[in-house]
């Protein structure tokens, strides 16, 4: 469902991704692990279509469509979701209105009818309960004054209601304590299905205890330097990244 071929990308004229190859099938969970500065976040932004991340070579096929030609909102409509490492605060925009606008925009894109306020509330309540998200949080402005854990739970909530087929989780575990990690991990795991693939980008192995990957890739200096099964994550946790950074250097 996702094929990344020889992907090169620059930010501010500096090459960050230097030829990434990756293929994922439906229902698979792949983890990308790597040291700081290896290009993990750049890869996630390139997949979501952020301005300023320029693809200079290679291609990304998503369900056999050219993902890189689509606008960010079209990618979301097609089922691509990025859980941000640093979720953005939207002062004055209530979480509820934001979610409703997003859900209805995506439904419209997919040719489904838009939900009215009542139906939407019912629809969203099922998910908020599981993620321990209070009504008060939904009334507040998006991410404004949220704790680190609340922000990440909010990302998972958005992911759940937008029903993506490809989720890219960018360091969703960063800044979480053990309890928050468990809630997020369970929330994400509950979304696993044969139609849904996930690309979990992380520095540490601990999130992968909750979301067990089918494959693990090690990203160093803009390239995937090694791929393996879930045991690779454990090995990394024990040995650290030094040999990969040294290799890359």
């Amino acid at each position: 469902m996702l094929k990344i071929k020889n992907l090169h990308a620059t930010v501010d004229g500096k090459e960050i991704l230097k030829g990434i190859d990756l293929a994922m099938g439906f229902g698979e969970v792949h983890a990308i692990m790597g040291p700081n500065g290896s290009g993990k976040s750049t890869l996630s932004y390139v997949l979501a279509g952020r301005n300023g991340y320029e693809v200079t070579k290679g291609e990304v096929l998503y369900n056999d469509k050219n993902l890189l030609e689509m606008k960010p909102e079209e990618r979301a409509g097609e089922g691509v979701f990025l859980a941000f490492q640093y979720p953005v605060e939207l002062p004055g925009v209530s979480s509820m209105n934001f979610l409703k606008a997003a859900v209805n925009a995506v439904r419209k894109y997919r040719g489904e009818n838009e939900l009215d306020a009542m139906d939407f509330l019912k629809f969203v309540r099922e998910t908020t309960k599981m993620l321990n998200i209070t009504d008060d949080m939904l009334k507040r402005a998006v991410n404004v004054g949220f704790s680190g854990g609340e922000k990440k739970r909010n990302e998972v909530l958005q992911m759940a209601v937008l029903k993506p087929t490809l989720s890219v989780l960018d360091e969703t575990d960063s800044g979480l304590d053990v309890d928050a990690l468990r809630i997020v991990g369970e929330g994400v795991t509950a979304l696993r299905s044969p139609h849904r693939s996930m690309l979990v980008i992380t520095h540490y192995q601990r999130l992968l205890d909750h979301i067990v990957p089918d494959e693990v890739h090690i990203l160093a200096d803009g390239k995937i330097v090694r791929s393996g099964g879930k045991e690779l994550a454990v090995e990394l946790e024990q040995e650290g990244y030094s040999r990969y950074t040294a290799d890359a250097a």
Partner: protein
């Protein structure tokens, strides 16, 4: 003496002062024309008008208002129970106004009626807080003073709001008029006044209004205004407010119309415990020019002012915000807060934002802030990454930006009116 421009001279020539007026009124008008004749219309050389040019006035031949006008549909801001005043081209219209049930002893009506029925009260208040010395436009207004609305309340708490509809209406001819209004609240009076300035037909008119407001002795006035004049209208609204002891003047102003608007407000916090809270929302597009100029005079100790202005400019619009807080000597313990934020939505827009503080007292809490910027790329991307199309994402952000001002006011059923105004503007943009 400088030679006046042709337009300034035509305004002087158009001024006809009858010697049969009340003596005090006669001198008020004569002072006005004298002061105006000395300087004429302001130019960019005038410090207070550095960013707003009235040159557009010079392009047309302004006529006095014809008496026989027709009025189209009246657009009230709220459908709730209210007293209603209609003023067309500066002239009070009794036929269209609904004032029945107004409390005994209080007055609501036209300036011309009040000059007869409440001559003494008018003598002691008219031209006292918005004077000919405050600028040439007010001087011009004083010299032409003919009609407008007057509201006089003493020991009266109104239970329903007063809606005032100021209609500008021309049938091809460019017209100029100078309404003069007076609001007086005394001895624990309370009122909510909702004013709507609007244009019918697309013709050119120049409305140069002068409004004097006295809120005295524990009275509270909520005065909310929407400036939505016609596309060819040039509006200068000068408002002078005096807030007395433990009194409060609260005003939310929204502007989205007119070709040029200058909203000039001066508030004198003239006794201890006087407070004012001002909000402004300005939206301009298609070459519109909007100028909000606010001066707050903290004249006595323990006075408080609070201001939040926010604007969005698109399509080569030009915005001006001049906010001045002046804390006088001896006005110790005063508190003045002022913020203006402007969002520039397209290239070619421009804003001049000039907040100023002048403090001559001790133990004062004052702050001012100004920010001008474009929409945040990161916020836009976040919304789009959730499937929300670019145009809608932009609308959501502009709306939330401007709505913050509304949230600071307790507007009751007017909340929706103001909110809708914002979303309508964004949709049309």
């Amino acid at each position: 003496m400088n030679k006046l421009s042709a337009t300034s001279q035509s305004f002087v020539d158009a001024c006809s002062i009858s010697e049969t007026e009340l003596p005090w009124l006669l001198s008020l008008k004569k002072c006005g024309i004298e002061d105006f004749s000395k300087v004429g219309l302001p130019t960019l050389r005038n410090e207070a008008w550095r960013y707003t040019s009235l040159k557009q006035l010079e392009r047309l031949d302004w006529q006095k208002v014809a008496e026989d006008y027709e009025v189209g549909e009246l657009s009230w801001l709220t459908s709730g129970d209210s007293y209603k005043l209609v003023i067309v081209n500066g002239k009070f219209n009794y036929d269209l106004s609904e004032m029945s049930g107004f409390p005994e002893g209080a007055f609501i009506g036209s300036l011309s009626e009040a000059l007869v029925s409440h001559s003494e009260l008018l003598e002691t208040h008219l031209g006292r807080i918005a004077t000919s010395k405050d600028g040439p436009l007010l001087a011009l207004n004083a010299s032409h003073m003919a009609d407008g609305y007057v509201i006089l309340l003493s020991k009266v708490q109104l239970t329903k709001p007063i809606q005032i509809l100021n209609v500008g209406r021309t049938d091809g001819q460019a017209i100029a008029y100078h309404p003069r209004n007076l609001i007086l609240l005394d001895q624990l009076s309370r009122a909510t006044i909702i004013e709507h300035c609007t244009g019918q037909n697309a013709g050119s008119y120049f409305v140069n209004s002068g409004t004097e407001i006295f809120v005295d002795q524990g009275s509270h006035l909520q005065h909310h205004r929407i400036f939505a004049d016609g596309p060819e209208a040039i509006g200068v609204a000068s408002t002078g407010v005096r807030v007395g002891s433990d009194a409060n003047y609260t005003s939310l102003v929204l502007s989205d119309g007119g070709k040029l608007l200058r909203n000039d407000v001066r508030i004198h916090l003239s006794a201890s415990g006087a407070e004012t809270k001002l909000g402004g929302i300005y939206m301009a597009d298609d070459g519109q020019h909007v100028d909000h100029t606010v001066l707050i005079e903290h004249e006595m100790p323990h006075t408080k002012s609070e201001q939040l202005f926010k604007g969005a400019l698109g399509g080569k619009a030009r915005g001006v915000f001049q906010g001045n807080i002046n804390v006088h000597e001896g006005a110790d313990g005063s508190d003045g807060q002022l913020t203006n934020k402007t969002l520039l939505l397209s290239p070619g827009t421009e804003v001049n934002s000039k907040p100023q503080l002048e403090i001559y007292a001790d133990d004062v809490k004052c702050s001012h802030g100004s920010a001008v910027g474009e929409l945040d790329e990161e916020e836009l991307f976040y919304l789009r990454s959730r499937g929300i199309p670019y145009a809608q994402a932009k609308s959501i952000l502009v709306e939330s930006f401007l709505s913050e001002v509304i949230d600071k006011f307790d507007l009751g059923e007017l909340t929706d009116t103001f909110s809708r105004r914002i979303s309508d503007w964004i949709q049309a943009d």
